[in-house]
């Protein structure tokens, strides 16, 4: 069963001026959530804002579910003021998470901004399963240093990691997709039997770029989208994906719609349509 109810905030970590994480107590979500899945969070009593906000699960420890959040609007601003002991209304976990890679393949993780937490969760999960850190390449980008979701956590994993900022305030100056594209070209021309597996999560422009770079390769992208429900009933978060042969509909337009909350948020890069 999915969870729907009030939960206690058991901890809060301020990572920078704009980034923080909240720990919530939910055995039901903690026992189910996998990397790439998300929960919906609503602040009780704020009636002018209707929709919950989706956040990817950053990590699970015992009964505690952690989400990392960037302060970027009214609701995330209010969430920033939430403290230990406060309560939130939470539903989830929702969506299809990442398909874990077969052992032995090189893994490329490409994160932009708030795309980092789910990929960190994925990376930690596969390392725990015994995956060699030498095979994992992790690229994390943000606009500037205060918007980096994690840094120490990334470097402490022992994987190849590259951090970029748009303004050069930390790591390499530029877009995260640039060093990723460079490195991937080298590997792709090498003799990696099954080829690499690429996982991307971040803003639409970034994941689109990753899809272009990874053309023909096995690539999974997690999309960011606002979602009124999160559990598949409102259809509000639908995106266009390539239509299959069996998709005959009354108003067929050469695509079909997939709900980011239900069929996603992780999609195969090859099935997405970019407008």
């Amino acid at each position: 069963m999915k969870f729907s109810g009030s939960v206690e905030v058991s901890g809060k970590t301020v990572i920078s001026r704009n980034i923080f994480s909240l720990d919530i107590v939910s055995p039901q979500i903690a026992s189910q959530a996998s990397p790439g899945q998300f929960i919906q969070v609503k602040i009780p009593g704020i009636n002018s804002v209707l929709w919950p906000r989706p956040f990817s699960v950053r990590k699970i420890k015992d009964d505690i579910v952690t989400v990392s959040i960037k302060k970027c609007g009214k609701v995330t601003g209010l969430l920033y003021d939430i403290n230990r002991g406060d309560r939130l209304y939470v539903t989830g976990p929702f969506g299809n998470g990442f398909i874990l890679p077969q052992m032995g393949r090189s893994i490329y993780l490409v994160a932009g901004g708030a795309g980092l937490p789910p990929l960190l969760f994925l990376c930690e999960s596969i390392l725990e399963k015994g995956y060699s850190p030498k095979l994992i390449h992790f690229y994390s980008g943000a606009r500037y240093v205060e918007e980096l979701f994690a840094n120490d956590e990334l470097t402490s994993l022992g994987v190849h990691s590259v951090v970029t900022t748009d303004d050069g305030s930390y790591g390499i100056k530029g877009l995260v997709t640039e060093p990723f594209a460079n490195d991937l070209t080298k590997v792709h021309s090498g003799k990696d039997d099954l080829g690499p597996v690429i996982y991307g999560c971040g803003p639409m422009a970034m994941v689109k770029k990753v899809a272009e770079i990874c053309h023909g390769l096995e690539c999974y992208l997690s999309l960011e989208q606002l979602m009124p429900c999160g559990w598949g009933v409102c259809n509000g978060c639908a995106v266009k994906i390539k239509a299959g042969d069996s998709d005959n509909t009354e108003d067929e337009k050469g695509f079909r719609l997939a709900r980011v909350c239900k069929e996603g948020p992780v999609f195969k890069a090859s099935e997405l349509i970019w407008d």
Binding site: M1, G5, L50, W51, P228, W231, V233, C234
Partner: protein, 305 residues
């Protein structure tokens, strides 16, 4: 003394007056991930059309102050897949099952009503003559008393189960439409569907919805819905089902006092899928606190202030 929440709509006995609203509850099965939906008085499916529809392209929803706009465009699996894939689940339910239908022509509506009403497990048909988001049909029928009556008369002839037109608030006189469908044989009416609205992105100078316009729902529309429910309930003899911005037991009490015999909850279940159970609890608490033993005692109880 036991408290009775039982109410009756068009001969259908509801164990409580709380139903799910069309378009907000999928085909029912989705919510079983959260709770046993047999605890509801009843559920209403999303609109079923003759053929599958993908609906409008994104963006399809916008959050607004105390509400939201949607231009989904009647996304649904179509009649055949509804019968094959969705009906078996509905047939196992003990709560009342109402199937919502939508068409582009009168023939669409009568075909759907004929087929769906003959299926085992379907207790009533709600007729969507009020969707603001489709090119043909929908509001075209709901906007005029004569057109609405024409559809409902035909549907009534084709249907073996009670027929409940869902009325649009986007009309000059909703009471006239309600009276017209009552005369045409409607067994009950549900109201309101969403209010037409839009939103503009001032940075890009574009409409925020691909369809330009959408339907407004959520707490923002509750006072409008409540006024319309009161006016219609005062003017017709058939039962009225109140819909629009309900998210608490107190909201339900207001609608019942305005004359509704049951209510539907839609938008509020997005964020809180179990809202129905909380609302049933809150309604019971209100009734007990105020020494009512039967929910029917408050229906139409409003007095001038």
């Amino acid at each position: 003394m036991g408290l009775s929440l039982q109410t009756e709509i068009a001969g259908l006995k509801l164990k409580n007056p709380i139903l799910s609203a069309s378009g907000c509850f999928g085909y029912g099965e989705e919510a079983t991930e959260f709770f046993d939906i047999n605890q509801l008085g009843g559920m209403v499916t999303k609109s079923i059309t003759p053929l599958p529809r993908t609906g409008h392209p994104p963006p399809k929803v916008v959050e607004t102050a105390s509400g939201m706009l949607n231009a989904i465009g009647l996304t649904n699996v179509g009649l055949d897949r509804f019968i094959m894939e969705k009906l078996p689940f509905l047939q196992k339910l003990s709560c009342t099952v109402i199937v919502n239908i939508a068409g582009s022509t009168v023939n669409d509506y009568t075909m759907l009503a004929g087929k769906i009403s003959s299926l085992e497990g379907v207790d009533a048909i709600e007729v969507n003559i009020s969707c603001p988001n489709v090119d043909s049909g929908g509001l075209e029928f709901g906007a005029s008393p004569a057109e609405a009556a024409k559809v409902i008369r035909a549907v009534k002839k084709a249907s073996r189960v009670p027929v409940i037109p869902k009325l649009s608030p986007n009309v000059t006189d909703i009471v006239a439409v309600a009276k017209a469908v009552e005369d045409a044989g409607a067994d009950a009416v549900s109201l309101i569907n969403t209010l037409v609205g839009t939103a503009i992105d001032i940075q890009t100078t574009r409409f925020k919805l691909s369809n330009r316009f959408g339907g407004l729902s959520g707490p923002a529309v509750k006072p409008v819905a409540l006024a319309m429910v009161y006016k219609v309930a005062s003017a017709v003899k058939i039962p009225v089902i109140g819909v629009g911005g309900i998210s608490s037991g107190d909201d339900v009490v207001e609608f019942l006092m305005a004359g509704a015999k049951a209510v539907q909850i839609g938008t509020a279940c997005f964020a809180e899928p179990t809202v129905f159970l909380r609302v049933i609890d809150e309604l019971s608490t209100y009734l007990k606190k105020n020494n009512y033993q039967n929910v029917n005692d408050i229906i139409g109880a409003v007095k001038d202030g």
